[in-house]
Amino acid sequence: MMNKAYLRTILLIAINSLFISACSDLGVKPWERNILAHDEMQLNHDPVEAGLDDHIYFSKEASSGGRGFGGGGCGCN
C-alpha cells in the first residue's frame, strides 16, 4: 500500500515540477492585474468562512488540510 502511495507522491511532485517549469510562459504584465486584484479573486478570499468549514470537516471526516496546514488544534477528532 505504502509503496504505491509513495510512487503516487513522487509522480505528483514530478507533475507539479513540470507545471512550474511551464509557468515561465504563463502570466500577465504588472499592468494587467486589475481583475486579479479584486477581493473575490483572492484564492482564500473569506478566511473566516474557510476556517469554520475546515473545523466542521475536520470534526466529521478523516481528512484535513490541503489549502493550508491540516493540524486541527481541537479535541474534536
Binding site: W31, L36, E49, S63, S64, G66, G70, G71, C76
Partner: protein, 465 residues
C-alpha cells in the same frame, strides 16, 4: 474600499498601458520602459493608498451547526481583526468560541436488547433502548481559540509569515506555532511557498483515558472501582503534529489564477478517541448468533472494548485550486484535494463555488463532494473469534464512523451585500449529508442498520467592516 477605488483608478491608467502593450510585439525595446512606467504607476498607487494602510479591518461571524436527531449542536462566534501597514506588513488576530451540546455515537452497534454503557468518566451509566443506535448524550464542550499572525515582505522577491495559536477545551489543550516563506518569480506571476507548523496537544479526559482494547467495566460489578482503574492508562497524554506545506501559485491569465499545494502531516502520540468503544458480537452458531457477547459475571453484561489506534499517522495531501473571472464579473472557484495516509485512508474532495455578481450584492451557490476509503483498522464491531476470550487477535481497532468508508455532499447558498465602502454583510445556509458503508455483520446483527446517514444544517451570518 478606498483602496479598491484607488486600485481601480490605477486600472484606468493601466488599461491605457495595455493598449500600448500590443505595440511591444513590434517595438520590443519599449517593454522595459513600459515595465518601469507600470511600476511607477503602482508606486503612485501605494502612495495614494497610504491613507488606507495602517488601519484595521474587522470580520465578525457566527456559525450555527445542527445535526439531525438531536445530535451535535454547535454555536461558533468568530472575531477576526486585520491591520495592514504601509509597507505591506499584515497583522492578524482571530478569536473563536465554540459551544457543543448534544449526543455523539459511542461506536457500539445497535442491538435487539437494551444496552447499558458506563460513561467515559466512570461516574455513571446510560441505557440505550432496543434497536437504537448507542449515543452518549453527555457530550458537551466549550472551546476558546486565539491565533495571531504576522506577514511581511522581506524584499521585492521574498516574503515571510509567522503565527501562533492556542486552543483550550475542558479536557483538551492545543498550542502551536507556524511559519512560512514565499518567493516570487516571473514578475510575481509565480509564487513558491514553504510553510511549517508545529502543534503540541494535551488531552485530559475526565476519568482518565482508557487502555486500548481493554474491556469497558460495568457499574453493576461489585469490583467496578478496581476494574475501572485497571482500564485506565493515565490521566493525561499528549500528541504532537508537524505539518509542512509546499505551494505553487501561478497567474495563468488576466482572469485565471491557480494553486497547487503538497502537504505532509505527521501526528505522533495519543491518537485514540477516549470516548469510543467497540461491541463484541457472538459468532458462535446458536440462539445468540450475531448478538452481543456477554461476560461471565453473575449479571452477564455485554462485552465492549475501548478502541486502539496506531500511535502515529502520516498524511499526504495534494490540493489544486483554480479561480476564473468571467467577463460579466462572476467568479468560478473550483478545487480538488487528494489525501492519503498510512492508516490506509485515501480521500477525494471536490469543491465548486459560483459567485454570481448582482451589482452591490452577490449570490454564491456551493457544491462539495467528499469520499473516503476506510482505515485498515476500522471495525464496526469485533467478532467473538477475534476477541479470543480477552486476548484479541488484533492490535488496533476503531469503530469511529469517521474512519469508515463514506461519501458526503454539501449543498449551500451564500448571499452577500456590500452596502457601504468596505462594509459587507453576508449569510449562508448549507446542508451536509454523510453516508457510510461497510460490513453489515451476521445473524441478528445484520437486522440492524449499522450505517445510518447523518445530516447537518449549517447557518452562518457575518459582517465585515
Amino acid at each position: 474600499m478606498q483602496l479598491v477605488k484607488q486600485k481601480n483608478g490605477n486600472t484606468n491608467q493601466a488599461d491605457q498601458s495595455e493598449d500600448k502593450q500590443l505595440m511591444t510585439h513590434k517595438f520590443k525595446k519599449i517593454t522595459p520602459a513600459l515595465a518601469a512606467a507600470s511600476c511607477s504607476l503602482l508606486g503612485a498607487g501605494d502612495t495614494l493608498a497610504k491613507d488606507e494602510t495602517g488601519t484595521w479591518n474587522f470580520d465578525v461571524a457566527a456559525l450555527l451547526y445542527a445535526e439531525s436527531d438531536d445530535r451535535v449542536q454547535a454555536a461558533e462566534p468568530v472575531f477576526n481583526a486585520t491591520k495592514t501597514y504601509d509597507d505591506g506588513e499584515i497583522l492578524n488576530f482571530k478569536v473563536v468560541f465554540d459551544t457543543l451540546t448534544g449526543a455523539s455515537p459511542n461506536g457500539a452497534t445497535p442491538s435487539d436488547q437494551a444496552q447499558v454503557f458506563t460513561q467515559p468518566s466512570g461516574k455513571g451509566s446510560f441505557t440505550t433502548a432496543t434497536n437504537e443506535r448507542p449515543i452518549d448524550d453527555t457530550f458537551q464542550d466549550t472551546r476558546a481559540a486565539i491565533s495571531a499572525n504576522w506577514s511581511a515582505p522581506i524584499n521585492r522577491d521574498w516574503a515571510y509569515s509567522t503565527g501562533a495559536y492556542g486552543s483550550k477545551e475542558y479536557d483538551y489543550l492545543s498550542l502551536g506555532i507556524n511559519g512560512a516563506v514565499k518567493r516570487y518569480l516571473n514578475q510575481k506571476n509565480t509564487e513558491l511557498s514553504v510553510g511549517l507548523s508545529f502543534s503540541a496537544d494535551t488531552l485530559e479526559p475526565e476519568g482518565g483515558h482508557p487502555l486500548g482494547l481493554s474491556e469497558m467495566p460495568h457499574k453493576s460489578s461489585s469490583a467496578f472501582d478496581t476494574e475501572f482503574a485497571a482500564s485506565r492508562e493515565g490521566s493525561s497524554d499528549t500528541k504532537t503534529i508537524i505539518d509542512a506545506v509546499f505551494g505553487v501559485t501561478q497567474v495563468i491569465s488576466r482572469n485565471t489564477i491557480m494553486q497547487f499545494n503538497y502537504g505532509i502531516s505527521l501526528s505522533d502520540g495519543y491518537l485514540n478517541d477516549p470516548f469510543k468503544i467497540l461491541s463484541v458480537i457472538d459468532d458462535t452458531a446458536g440462539a445468540n448468533f450475531g448478538g452481543n457477547l456477554k461476560n461471565t459475571a453473575a449479571t452477564a453484561e455485554n462485552i465492549y472494548l475501548y478502541e486502539a489506534r496506531p500511535d502515529s499517522r502520516m498524511k499526504h495531501s495534494f490540493y489544486w485550486q483554480t479561480k476564473y473571472a468571467l467577463n460579466n464579473g462572476d467568479v468560478i472557484d473550483g478545487s480538488y484535494r487528494f489525501m492519503l495516509d498510512d492508516w490506509g485512508i485515501n480521500s477525494h474532495t471536490l469543491d465548486f463555488r459560483y459567485r454570481w455578481a448582482l451589482g452591490e450584492s452577490y449570490l454564491e451557490p456551493h457544491l462539495r463532494y467528499y469520499m473516503q476509503s476506510e482505515a485498515d483498522f476500522y471495525k464496526p464491531f469485533v467478532s467473538s473469534t477475534e476477541y479470543n476470550a480477552g486476548a484479541p487477535t488484533f492490535k488496533e481497532a476503531s469503530s469511529d464512523e469517521r474512519l469508515s468508508e463514506m461519501d458526503a455532499i454539501t449543498v449551500g447558498l451564500k448571499y452577500g451585500w456590500k452596502f457601504a465602502d468596505d462594509q459587507e454583510v453576508n449569510m449562508r445556509v448549507e446542508y451536509y449529508l454523510q453516508s457510510h458503508t461497510g460490513d453489515n455483520g451476521f445473524g441478528k446483527l445484520s437486522q440492524q442498520d449499522l450505517y445510518p446517514d447523518s445530516q447537518a444544517v449549517i447557518f452562518q451570518i457575518g459582517y465585515s467592516f
